[in-house]
Symmetry: C2
Subunit: 169 residues, 2 copies
Amino acid sequence: MPCRRLNNLVADAISMPILKNPADLPARRGTIYPTPLDEGFNGRIKRAMTGALGLTQFGVNLTTLEPGAKSSLRHWHAHEDECIYVLSGVLTLVQEDGEHVLTAGMAAGFPAGDANAHHLINRSADPATYLEIGTRSETESATYADVDLRAEKQGGVYRFFHKDGTPYA
Amino acid sequence: MPCRRLNNLVADAISMPILKNPADLPARRGTIYPTPLDEGFNGRIKRAMTGALGLTQFGVNLTTLEPGAKSSLRHWHAHEDECIYVLSGVLTLVQEDGEHVLTAGMAAGFPAGDANAHHLINRSADPATYLEIGTRSETESATYADVDLRAEKQGGVYRFFHKDGTPYA
């Protein structure tokens, strides 16, 4: 999309600090996970509302999972509270106690430090959209349950490591 | 409502940390504003999702304004970011730059320290529901634009003062 068109869309969507149409915000697909763990995230579309709302203490994303897409690799955070609220569609929450089907109006919380590795998968035939809200701490550590990955955030920037401490290239 | 019935409703609504039906959470009407500033809030219904989701760093309420009701006295926060996301109905956001009509899918942000006194009013004939999310700081100061009120939070507990510093009784 040409930059001017993108800027116009953002300007139309935002009258600070009001977001009249969050769905018009720029869509970010894919993840920052290191290769090959970044595969299979093309169907995850995040629209960051945080900056448009002028917020810094917690983040708010409008996130859509297309059929087959997942929210993240299954993980938990050491320092940041996180929650989601389902707006439309059908999502499957996979966490330590098993699987739970979530539909519009349902919510789930992931308290900081609770070793409940979780993610959402869209196993339905239609897109599903939810709000995700998470504290923004300068320092964070994320533990991944199913893959050889550990994420460390310093100064707001994530770096990724193997579980033996070796950094990903 | 008898306590046992209330407890059953909460238990049905919550499978920690999943909230299958936030609308079944206990409804809190009215405010903690000192008399007579607490008048006119009976049509504001808050359902606190925070505890049910296991969160402590930010609060999440499912809030309904019945016709004529308002979200708060018009105010701004010194230390806590705040935002709202409209789920249903029609709300009027009143803030320093005037009035804005908000409908489902719209959002508004109120950054900490931004002297943009704001509140929501339901001027429609039907209830309107939104999510409100705000950082939970131990210490806070809220400034009210239209009334003789100042709120100070210490250790998580609010106390109310006149603008000359005299505490409300």
